[in-house]
């Protein structure tokens, strides 16, 4: 297993190098002059030029790249212009917010989509099947920012049942002592039920927005793979052996059907991380997505680079996790590695 992990990590290295290069080039191509930004209003040409030199922006691109990479190797992702903070520190402090939201969205989505997919697969062509298809397709057809806005409009503004879309915690609560960075978990560890409920309330709408978006791919994949597995010969054998429907569906069909679903989950997760960018903007969520958008709009290189790199690393780790999970379920993969 360890060998497989190492092998996978090795395989990811070229991609990561590609990401670093592409990000670097892309951010350099962004319009806007950080030097002019730093120099502030009313700066003279000379002042701008001097700041440009300080930032090393007067050097040719290859040299800037070398400098960037060497900084990066020391864990230095630079400083964000818009917030003035070191990028690495900010990403670390914001990552749990995004991760908590995305994971909760994913979990909610899985809890709804997987049973829905199974239900649809066990009666293909039925009303349930069609309803499932239409509902999930409608979900994935909604732009997340629109869903988010509509949810806020109804549940907060009109009905008043949701808390203000103001980040991770109501104003009058203070964050639980940081252990995992996930408020839900940290507040439980701190045995602070009040904070737990408060942070859960904040999470519901944005997580629902993400979950609605993620329903379709998961439900579709569950349905498809469940359908394939239910039609497979070993399920027929299991049926012919008189095994109870429960055993057939759970032990025989479901575990096998989960394999492609897990792969899909990985894709969906990375997809959600992208969608997060918009959701965080709508819900004022202090995550890395909103951070990156602000930075990009402001032509602020360092956070964009840092964000993309973090996401790329997360993506690699996620795929690794999926492979490991896959291996746990499927003995064939285990042996091959």
């Amino acid at each position: 297993m360890l060998r497989m992990v190492l092998k996978r990590l090795m395989l990811a290295i070229p991609s990561l190098i590609g990401v670093v290069i592409v990000t670097f080039l892309l951010t350099r191509a962004l319009p806007g002059d950080p030097a002019a930004y730093f120099a502030g209003p009313a700066a003279t040409e000379e002042a701008v030029a001097q700041i440009r030199k300080q930032l090393g922006l007067d050097q040719p691109l290859p040299q800037q790249f070398v400098r960037y990479v060497s900084d990066l190797s020391r864990g230095d992702m630079g400083v964000a212009l818009t917030t003035g903070q070191p990028v690495a520190a900010e990403i670390m402090s914001r990552l749990p917010a995004s991760a908590e939201l995305t994971l909760l969205g994913l979990i909610v989505s899985v809890l709804i989509a997987v049973p829905l997919g199974i239900l649809a697969a066990t009666s293909p062509g039925s009303m349930i099947d069609h309803t499932c298809r239409i509902v999930t397709t409608a979900g994935v057809s909604l732009p997340v920012f629109f869903t988010g806005l509509v949810l806020v409009y109804f549940f907060y503004y009109q009905l008043g049942v949701a808390p203000a879309p103001l980040g991770r915690l109501d104003v009058y609560f203070s964050a639980p002592p940081q252990i995992t960075g996930f408020y839900l978990i940290d507040s439980l560890i701190a045995r602070d039920g009040e904070t737990f409920v408060a942070s859960l309330k904040q999470l519901i709408l944005p997580a629902a927005t993400l979950a609605i978006f993620a329903l379709a791919p998961i439900a579709r994949m569950t349905r498809a793979s469940m359908l394939a597995v239910l039609g497979s010969e070993f399920v027929r054998t299991a049926r012919a052996s008189g095994l109870s429907p429960g055993t057939v569906i759970v032990t025989y069909a479901f575990r096998n059907a989960m394999l492609p679903v897990i792969t899909t989950l990985g894709m969906v997760f990375s997809f959600l991380l992208g969608a997060n960018v918009l959701v965080e903007k709508v819900f004022a969520w202090p995550g890395i997505g909103s951070y990156a958008v602000e930075a990009l709009i402001a032509s602020d290189f360092a956070p964009v680079q840092g964000f993309v790199l973090t996401m790329a690393v997360m993506y690699v780790m996620l795929n690794l996790l999926i492979d490991v999970l896959y291996g746990l379920i499927d003995p064939r993969v285990r042996i091959e590695a």
């Binding site: 730093f38 502030g40 701008v48 917030t83 900010e90 503004y157 049942v161």
Partner: protein, 539 residues
């Protein structure tokens, strides 16, 4: 039917369960709520030291509230009841006495003034802070320069509690410039502990920490999300502020900010779209205070260095083609002070901002354009800062539509916020809209920045006119000399010239709008248009 009742009961149930929670679970929280002011705004600071490199406007607000200055302004009450800073009346802050001489001003410091760490404020700190302002470069140094404060030698420690500021020339802006945000007094001893060879002014430290003696201190800052300021109970330079704690949250979506206000979750917000202010005012649940920007206006600028806008007739044609009223109605919801259609050929008073005499007149615009040699119009582009899209976008769309009627096809060019300054700096945009306002509320101050031939960054049109320069310089000199008549002539001179030459077309004077809960009072309008927490009262 069923669904409706279900929804109803749902909302009722959750309202019942949602609302009393803080009260039931902890009375401390309800108490805290009374003494806490929740401010929401679109963006937050990137640096809490105004001397820092590239500190943004929200950063100024922290600086204003967490540091003291030698002097400040008195308040006056406008006819509508708004507290408005009095440009001409100064109030002592750290200084207990100011003595302005011919070529210097002497400040006696208050003996009881202490920094937040308990060390007393001394003349050394004042000198160090002012030295820093003129030395670090960038915006603070530039701002100091606007009041002819450029050299460290100008700041002299007379004794522990006396500081003298020498003038390098007579300038009537020198004293007002000491009351802006920049010349804040910093705890030099504490900062120097964190200074390094590379960073002699300790900018890295003050970027993240408020190191002054102001009425508030920043206790928590999560960039882009939240700033928390706590009252400094040892602050002695004025009456103790009523609000113990300021929670300032960044809420990028204007709709959410409005919703927060309406539902009573947020106490105060500025930076809302005009439409929301109009509606909130009509709804009457909140107090809305609208005050015109001092010394500022939004305008359409034209690049006069290049055809076609180097042609006066083209500029005048554009000025006649602007759909002023439509902009007032649709983009601003009437929440602005019009600066057009004065009905006067010459300006009446030596005051700024003041209306010009253009009005929407498409026939005249067409005629002027034909006279200029563009009977069929031309193609150009109109740019705006995406950061202020709520007003800029409809404005530009309306202008675009109107210009199309006289044959000018303008493509709309959205420029992202950070890039806007770069673009302005290049001075290549043919047609654009922008806002400029000066902290120091003097007409010549505005015109030096925006029209003078020394071509500052804000003279975005690249406008050059000897005649204009003469008027502006003349006004400055007259003001310094105290020659009221000459001052008025010169001011009227540059105003009229600016309108006849029309390199930029003022459209309106924006309003600074603040919405707050009815139980919040004590709002004061400052030249920097940010909040002064010291005067705010809740309950």
């Amino acid at each position: 039917m069923k669904r409706r009742t279900f929804l109803k009961s749902l909302s009722a149930a959750s309202a019942a369960s949602a609302l009393p929670i803080p009260a039931v679970w902890s009375s401390a929280k309800a108490q805290a709520r009374q003494e806490t002011l929740l401010v929401v705004s679109e963006s937050g600071p990137n640096n809490v030291d105004i001397h820092g490199v590239g500190t943004n406007v929200p950063g100024y607000e922290v600086s204003w509230n967490c540091y003291d200055r030698l002097i400040s302004h008195e308040m006056k009450t406008l006819p509508n009841g708004t507290q408005y800073y009095d440009r001409d009346k100064f109030k002592m802050e750290l200084a207990e006495d100011m003595n302005v001489g011919d070529m210097s001003a002497t400040f006696k410091l208050r003996k009881d003034a202490k920094f937040q760490d308990g060390t007393p404020v001394t003349a050394k700190d004042v000198k160090w802070s002012l030295d820093r302002a003129v030395s670090v470069g960038g915006f603070p140094t530039f701002q100091m320069g606007a009041g002819s404060l450029t050299k460290r030698e100008q700041f002299v420690v007379v004794d522990d509690h006396t500081v003298r500021v020498d003038f390098i020339k007579k300038d009537r802006l020198t004293i007002p410039d000491l009351a802006v945000i920049v010349p804040c007094i910093i705890n030099s001893g504490l900062v120097q502990k964190h200074a390094t060879e590379k960073d002699p002014w300790g900018l890295e430290y003050t970027k993240l920490n408020t190191v002054g003696g102001g009425a508030y201190k920043m206790t928590k800052w999560q960039p882009g999300a939240e700033v928390i300021l706590e009252r400094n109970d040892d602050w002695k330079l004025g009456p103790q502020p009523k609000v113990r704690r300021i929670i300032w949250r960044m809420v990028p979506s204007a709709g959410n900010r409005r919703a927060l206000l309406e539902r009573g979750d947020a106490d105060i917000s500025y930076e809302l779209p005009n439409k929301d202010f109009v509606e909130l005012r009509e709804a009457g649940k909140l107090s809305i205070v609208s005050t015109p920007f001092s010394n500022g206006c939004q305008y359409i600028g034209m690049n006069v260095t290049k055809p076609p806008f180097d042609n006066l007739k083209v500029r005048q044609a554009v000025a006649y083609a602007i759909p002023y009223q439509k902009i007032m109605d649709a983009a601003l919801y009437g929440l602005a002070k019009p600066l057009y259609g004065s009905g006067l050929d010459k300006v009446k008073d030596a005051a700024w901002p003041v209306a010009h005499n253009y009005n929407t007149d498409i026939a005249k615009a067409k005629q002027l354009l034909a006279e200029a040699g563009y009977p069929n119009g031309f193609e150009t582009s109109i740019s705006f800062d995406l950061g202020f899209a709520t007003i800029n976008e409809p404005l530009c769309v309306l202008v675009q539509e109107s210009l199309a009627q006289i044959g000018i096809k303008a493509e709309i060019n959205k420029v992202t916020g950070a890039n806007w300054r770069t673009e302005l700096n290049k001075k290549t945009m043919p047609l654009y809209t922008n806002v400029f306002s000066g902290w120091l509320d003097y007409p010549e101050y505005f015109f030096i920045w925006c029209y003078h031939g020394r071509n500052s960054i804000f003279n975005t049109m690249g406008y050059q006119s000897k005649e204009m320069d003469a008027f502006i310089d003349g006004a400055g000199d007259a003001a310094t000399a105290g020659n009221a008549a000459a001052y008025e002539t010169n001011v009227k001179g540059f105003l009229d010239l600016a309108f006849t030459d029309i390199p930029r077309i003022p459209i309106f004077q924006p309003l600074s709008n603040v919405a707050m809960q009815k139980n919040v009072s004590g709002y004061q309008y400052w030249f920097h248009r940010r909040l002064d927490y010291r005067s705010l009262v809740k309950g």
